[in-house]
């Protein structure tokens, strides 16, 4: 998947107005809450059929870190 496409989907899932890229700090977004975590779990299951543990998700700050958890091989620039 193209990185830009992933950012768009992530933006929809989080329901944020802010523009996001790999350097965005997820937890710093105003919209970030326990509900956002669930939306991210769903998105990653839907797109990559991969499940991330709560611990992994909690450890994530930047979107780049999230992409590393999913696997960088899944993305192209």
């Amino acid at each position: 998947m193209k990185k830009t496409e992933f950012f768009e989907k992530l933006k929809d899932a989080i329901e944020t107005e802010s523009n996001i890229d790999e350097n965005t700090n997820l937890k710093a977004l105003n919209e970030y809450s326990s509900l956002t975590t669930l939306s991210i779990i769903v998105l990653i299951d839907e797109l990559f059929e991969k499940s991330l543990t709560a611990r992994e998700l909690n450890s994530v700050n930047s979107i780049n870190e999230l992409m590393e958890l999913i696997g960088m091989d899944k993305f192209k620039s």
């Binding site: 937890k27 809450s33 326990s34 509900l35 975590t37 669930l38 939306s39 779990i41 769903v42 299951d45 839907e46 499940s51 991330l52 543990t53 709560a54 998700l57 909690n58």
Partner: protein, 332 residues
């Protein structure tokens, strides 16, 4: 020899907790957003001196307005909010309801899978001629376990009870069951203190999680993301096992009722499993997640609103705390 659900009633306590109340209680907690994500507008909650036994009693008395209580020869009570360690709450309920004394009664401790488990137990009791009229009661007051500062769990759970009569019948209307257990996830939905492993601790330290919800180990804890992961992994699998075990396809099913955990989760599960929208029930707007009672409440509402009719095949699937899950197909 078979069995059939004859009647269902439910009771919700009078106290209400609305999304607007929650918005007033917590910063950055928006009423509309809670409803969009959870599908819940308000939940019924018990008063300080009201317990799961009281809710169970009320639900049963609604049944006995038209079903003769003398017929009941087995009482099953599913609850994780018992009156005491001992005796079993079902004994107290038997007495309060003035049921016969020559009947069986016991509690079983399960959450969201409890109603379907209860149907499986009732089927076993009836098929082995132990009982002919089983009163299955599910009653839960999770709000008593939830910290008043825990906005996440307060937004999800509501209290309530349901009472169901399963009677001996010539026709087998309960099809094959699938039951599942994975205790490796036990600590992801738990009230840590108050049992014998970790006693209730009045000095328990309050902690704040990354979402700003506060609780102590005397309170209910739910690791939302992990419960979500469990559900996404186990529910589609369990759904297919039910179809396989009954040698049917989704086309043979008239309606599907899942445990009403939260709208967002079960809507995602519906899409993932590819269940047609018109065959799928989502409604927890005025109840919240009532744990073991969500399925009987949904079933009763579907019958009353003619979403399902006599003869329909309905697939039921409960999943959650334990982890524990249970599913079956019943013919109404």
């Amino acid at each position: 020899m078979g069995e059939k659900i004859i009647a269902i009633e439910y009771y919700l306590p009078e106290g209400l907790l609305t999304n607007v109340d929650l918005e007033g209680m917590f910063e950055n907690w928006n009423a509309q957003k809670i409803e969009e994500k959870t599908g819940i507008n308000c939940r019924h909650i018990v008063r300080e001196n009201e317990t799961a036994l009281d809710l169970a009693y009320r639900a049963c008395e609604k049944l006995f307005e038209y079903y003769p209580r003398e017929k009941v020869d087995f009482l099953l009570l599913c609850t994780q909010s018992p009156e005491y360690y001992l005796p079993t709450t079902a004994c107290i309920l038997q007495d309060r309801l003035k049921l016969r004394t020559n009947i069986g009664a016991f509690d079983f401790n399960l959450g969201c899978s409890g109603f379907v488990y209860g149907l499986a137990i009732a089927k076993g009791l009836i098929q082995t001629s132990v009982a002919k009229s089983v009163l299955l009661v599910t009653s839960e007051t999770y709000t008593k376990h939830i910290s008043s500062k825990d906005k996440g769990n307060l937004s999800i759970f509501g209290d309530g009870a349901a009472a169901t009569i399963i009677e001996y019948n010539d026709k087998k209307s309960f099809k094959e069951f699938i039951l599942g257990t994975d205790g490796s996830g036990f600590s992801n939905l738990i009230v840590p203190n108050g049992g014998l492993r970790q006693r209730y601790n009045p000095q328990a330290i309050e902690t704040t999680d990354e979402n700003g919800s506060c609780r102590t180990e005397n309170n209910l804890f739910m690791n939302g993301p992990e419960i979500f992961n469990f559900s996404i992994a186990s529910v589609p699998k369990a759904f297919n096992e039910i179809l396989l075990k009954n040698s049917i396809t989704i086309e043979d099913i008239d309606f599907v009722i899942f445990h009403q955990a939260n709208k967002y989760m079960i809507e995602y599960l519906r899409k993932k499993i590819k269940i047609p929208e018109e065959k799928f029930y989502i409604n927890m707007k005025y109840t919240g997640n009532t744990v073991s009672s969500t399925i009987p409440i949904a079933l009763k509402n579907c019958i009353d609103n003619h979403k399902v009719k006599s003869g329909d095949f309905v697939l039921l699937l409960g999943f959650g705390v334990g982890y524990s899950w249970a599913g079956t197909v019943i013919q109404l």
